[in-house]
Amino acid sequence: MSTATSDRVQAPFGVRRARVTAAESYGAYTVLRASDPAGPRPQAGQFYMLRAAERWGGGEAERPFLPRAFSVLRAPAGGDELQFLIEDVGPGTARLCELEAGAELALVGPLGIGFSAPRDQRRPLLVGGGVGIAPLAIWADGLSRAAHPECTVLLGFRDAAHAPGAELIPGAVVATDDGSAGHHGLVTELLAAELDSDPHAEVYACGPPPMLEAVRALCAGRDIPAQLALESGMACGFGACFGCVVPTVDGYIRICVDGPVIAGARLKTALTPGAGH
């Protein structure tokens, strides 16, 4: 096997425990903070497979059973803290959202390939939808550290109940579908305007499939490089099950090992059946 220098921060082999240090609410979202002394610092766009160390199961329809994938929201340098942003959409996220400080996570990670720096001085444009803002928070931190002056962050939410998620990325411009907070409309409208004003940009996006597809199409039409963080149901997160595939111009790829960040140019569409919710 090639032992070429790796294209990712690799995960310790096997599942390990991480203690929850805090659980905070941001509108409809929960931020879980956990201490992961045994793990490395992840890259922006990488994810972890998480489950509660206790009582992972016995929820709705006798689930969950498998671990669930979550982008790292933040992982402050120097420390051992991992932060995750979680939206309760089913039995797995419901269980994670009920964890309190002191509870333990069983996790594997960091996994997958994250975001890469903008090419030829392009300005980074970050576009997030709903819980998809998570990987943009840590990426925005990294960009500002790398001193990218005008890093613009555009975030779209369903309504005012979800908009508080924007507090996680200071300076972000907000749009809501119902106009209850920020711009009344789709975040992709804000993106179009930004690209009109200055097209020398590289777009970083994560969110629901319809939003990602709109971003992909928008950028494809203008030949603007877009790095899309995709989602899909996952069983393993490390390439073992072949379950998380999305179609690309060169066939199906497993987004857990060849993604989750994919160049928009490699996709015919970001609308994958069964991806997200």
């Binding site: 990712r8 995960a11 490390f238 099950c241 066939g251």
Partner: protein
């Protein structure tokens, strides 16, 4: 050596002889549930240093390359998983060119799992691997319909007997026949395979299942139906392993819902020589090492851990 490396403790139980191949412990992976090449990208050299299995079974290889089924390919069931992956693989040529050289570097013997849609296809696959020293044994996945007869090969003793008569003469390597649980009389299929020279049998493959889209009510899986695995099927697997071990004298590789040393131990009690871990590796990539260590302790004590 593996077991030691795998968990920094003495090998889990005594070495095991499987068809003349010496293995450090009785725990291997189930085909299609662990991609050592992808795992090495995710975990780096620690995967090799702590390799969890005493032999590595590769995902099913077919003659022609396959894209596999359209997504979604996964559905979580109570205490288990249903998949319709659809056997994506690079095909025989691609496997020989790209995967085999990398898998040959693993610290454990390699078992290649193959499937053909006709006896001739299986024969061609077996012949291709017969001459490869990197390959310790072959596992025949017969859980598919014979395109000529329409019969699911693994569900019909006659089909399996004919298949074995065709391929047995083609190699001296151990031939493991992997049985499907979706059959009326699994021991009869096992007997047919053993009588025609199968070196070993492995079971169970996944049970046929289905799920509907929560919103549309249409079949959820891209492949329409899928295969159920995990703890949900363990009791069913144990019954089939028990009856097959009673029916044949060749070694048996047992699998189906193994998540704890205790589960593997029960399959060994039922008469299996090796135990394969599948779905549990998705919950813990190093599950094989943990289970091997637990089985070692159980073998040592030969008492119940609970």
């Amino acid at each position: 050596m593996t077991a030691t490396a795998a968990n920094g403790r003495p090998p889990a139980g005594p070495a095991v002889d499987f068809c003349g191949i010496e293995l450090a412990h009785p725990i291997i992976n189930a085909s299609g549930t662990f991609d050592a090449i992808a795992a090495r990208r995710a975990f780096g050299e620690e995967l090799i240093a702590r390799f969890p299995f005493s032999a590595f079974v590769s995902k099913t290889v077919t003659l022609a390359p396959r894209q596999g089924n359209p997504p979604p390919r996964l559905w979580e069931v109570p205490a288990g998983l249903m998949n319709s992956i659809g056997l994506p693989n690079k095909g025989l040529e691609g496997y020989l060119a790209h995967d085999l050289p990398e898998l040959a570097q693993l610290p454990v013997p390699l078992i290649v799992n193959v499937m053909g849609f006709s006896r001739d296809e299986v024969a061609e696959l077996v012949t291709a691997f017969a001459s490869r020293d990197e390959v310790a044994a072959l596992e025949l996945n017969v859980s598919c319909p014979n395109v000529e007869t329409g019969l699911v090969m693994g569900a019909d003793p006659g089909e399996v007997a004919r298949l074995m008569r065709t391929v047995r003469p083609l190699t001296d390597k151990p031939l493991i026949v992997k049985l499907t649980p979706n059959a009326s009389d699994v021991p009869a299929v096992a007997r047919a395979a053993a009588e025609e020279g199968a070196s070993a049998l492995s079971l169970i493959n996944t049970l046929r299942g289905m799920a509907l889209h929560p919103v549309t009510g249409e079949p959820w899986l891209g492949g329409s139906t899928g295969g159920v695995s995990g703890p949900a099927v363990r009791a069913i697997a144990l019954a089939q392993v028990h009856s097959v071990c009673a029916a044949v004298d060749v070694p048996v590789i047992a699998m189906g819902g193994v998540a704890r040393g205790r589960d593997a131990w029960e399959f060994l009690l039922a008469g299996a020589t090796l135990v394969a871990v599948g779905t549990e590796s998705f919950r813990d990539p190093a599950a094989g090492a943990r289970i091997a260590a637990e089985v070692g302790d159980l073998t040592a004590k030969a008492t119940n851990p609970v």
